[in-house]
């Protein structure tokens, strides 16, 4: 994001809208710290600037990755796809990258059957809530997971950036290691029998990073119960009283 210095009135109204405090006023004009700015677009979408001084500059790799993960739409994706040599159509049909920070997780599990009985889906939402993260920290988490034999979900934007054998950032994406974004979701699923062990690995790697992540735990219900919940309780891993429930009304039309 940039500020057109000619247009800016120096009113300071845009400052609080930035989730990472990248905007300040310098010599009576708004200025955006380009290291801090995550290209999320929250400032411009707020429509708070009556002078229309905020604008999105043309982005170049690797900065593009900030917008691809921090924003909510396609900005930046084309350049990322170009790096992946991936045809745009493949992207559009959601074969590789559904658009956004992650997948549709369990919302449509009644249609996709992605998470079966006995499986646990786990998501690590790097940088959430509102802190942001550096890809170097994301890599620490993914490398630790892969080292512990976790296979990341293939149709996920984070997975596309990584070497599946090591969890490290692929050679062609090395430039993103020091880039930052608002959030990105590492997603995988494991059997219920080993899920607690994997959560322990995450607890350990959480101590080694300079940011936060929010932890999602997906489980298929059985007889109106959440089978994995009792295992979490026994392991002393607390979960919130609230969350998301897919009620099973979805179907594939005949």
């Amino acid at each position: 994001m940039q500020v057109d210095q000619e247009k800016c009135l120096g009113c300071k109204k845009c400052i609080p809208y930035c989730p990472v405090r990248a905007i300040s006023v310098v010599e009576k004009k708004a200025s955006i710290d380009q290291d801090l700015c995550l290209e999320c677009g929250a400032c411009i979408r707020s429509e708070v600037c009556s002078a229309e001084a905020l604008y999105i500059q043309e982005l170049h790799w690797p900065r593009t990755i900030r917008a691809a993960f921090s924003g909510t739409n396609y900005i930046g994706y084309d350049q990322v796809l170009e790096k992946m040599s991936m045809p745009r159509r493949e992207f559009d049909v959601g074969k590789h990258w559904g658009g956004g920070r992650g997948t549709s997780e369990m919302k449509t599990n009644d249609v996709t059957d992605n998470f079966k009985h006995g499986e646990v889906g786990i998501g690590c939402e790097m940088g959430r809530p509102g802190v942001g993260f550096c890809f170097r920290d994301l890599e620490k988490v993914t490398m630790k997971l892969v080292e512990n034999h976790v296979q990341l979900l293939p149709i996920n934007p984070v997975t596309q950036l990584l070497n599946p054998k090591t969890g490290s950032i692929k050679d062609e994406f090395q430039g993103i290691r020091d880039e930052r974004a608002l959030s990105a979701i590492i997603e995988f699923k494991v059997g219920m029998d080993i899920a607690i062990g994997v959560l322990r690995v995450l607890q350990e790697v959480a101590k080694e990073i300079e940011t936060v992540f929010s932890v999602d735990i997906i489980n298929r219900c059985k007889d109106d119960k959440i089978p994995f919940k009792s295992m979490l309780d026994r392991a002393g891993i607390e979960v919130a009283v609230n969350g998301k429930t897919c009620v099973g009304l979805g179907r594939i039309p005949e």
């Binding site: 809208y17 989730p19 999320c40 677009g41 929250a42 411009i44 979408r45 429509e47 604008y55 999105i56 043309e58 982005l59 924003g71 909510t72 739409n73 396609y74 900005i75 559009d92 920070r101 992650g102 997948t103 549709s104 997780e105 449509t108 599990n109 009644d110 996709t112 889906g121 939402e125 509102g130 959030s183 990073i209 940011t211 936060v212 992540f213 932890v215 999602d216 735990i217 997906i218 489980n219 219900c221 007889d223 109106d224 959440i226 919940k229 979490l232 607390e238 979960v239 919130a240 009283v241 609230n242 969350g243 998301k244 429930t245 897919c246 009620v247 009304l249 979805g250 594939i252 039309p253």
Partner: protein
């Protein structure tokens, strides 16, 4: 995406906050999606009957954006891009903001809503009644409810449904000293993308304290920033008021 999954708060507050949404799976074929889309319109009609706090839908299928010039930086991220969604919320006094409509009827009047219908309720009864009607209507859409599991599972039992799959929140791990205080987080986590900035919340609370704006207007200003339309302005108003009551 897990945007409604990490709403922080105490049980009582969370029992006044339900996000009900219907969704068509994106990886279905275009033909399959199109066959389900009339159901989204019906879902909006059902959700609007039970006094939602907020209702919204999408005006374009995100899988059918081929015609959009996505090579122009910011083409979709700009306010112009938000035109693909429409929303109405309580406390909104009307005016101009991309994507916002002034009456619930404007959402009902949308001829071809696409893959999503979002409705927020501030009480269990409304959520249960909407869920019961959605079950009866048998639209084939996936229906997801965010709220306390005890109440949502109870709602399922009441209308004859069995919970299919859950997503639980195991909280925030890592360097948690980077987070704002809990009471601010209870407000900001209603936007899963973190587009409701902690600094905006603090700024608006200060303005309310100075009587420069009302609690309700502050809540709407926060809700406007949430592009997924899942931020509950009524709960936000309650939380702002509680914050003001307990701080100087």
């Amino acid at each position: 995406m897990t945007h409604t999954n990490h709403r922080l708060g105490n049980k009582k507050s969370l029992e006044e906050d339900y996000v009900l949404f219907t969704m068509i799976e994106s990886t279905l074929t275009s033909e399959q999606r199109n066959r389900l889309k009339p159901g989204t319109k019906k879902a909006i009609e059902i959700c609007c009957q039970y006094d939602p706090v907020l209702v919204s839908t999408d005006l374009q299928d995100t899988r059918e954006r081929d015609g959009i010039d996505s090579t122009t930086p910011g083409r979709i991220l700009l306010p112009d891009g938000v035109r693909f969604r429409a929303r109405w919320m309580k406390y909104w006094k009307g005016g101009k903001h991309t994507g916002m409509v002034n009456n619930k009827e404007d959402i009902l009047a949308i001829e071809k809503p696409q893959r999503y219908c979002y409705a927020i309720y501030d009480n269990k009864d409304s959520m249960v009644r909407a869920l019961a009607d959605l079950r009866k209507a048998d639209l084939g859409l996936s229906v997801i409810i965010s709220g306390t599991f005890s109440e949502v599972f109870g709602a399922c039992a009441k209308v004859g449904l069995k919970p299919h799959t859950v997503n639980m929140s195991a909280g925030i791990w890592g360097k948690v000293d980077l987070l704002p205080e809990r009471r601010i987080l209870e407000i900001t986590t209603m936007c899963g993308h973190s587009f409701v900035s902690r600094y905006l919340v603090e700024h608006l609370i200060k303005r309310v304290r100075k009587k420069e704006m009302s609690v309700e207007d502050a809540a709407v200003e926060m809700a406007k920033q949430c592009v997924c339309n899942i931020f509950n302005p009524i709960r936000a108003a309650h939380l702002i008021q509680e914050y003001l009551n307990t701080t100087e």
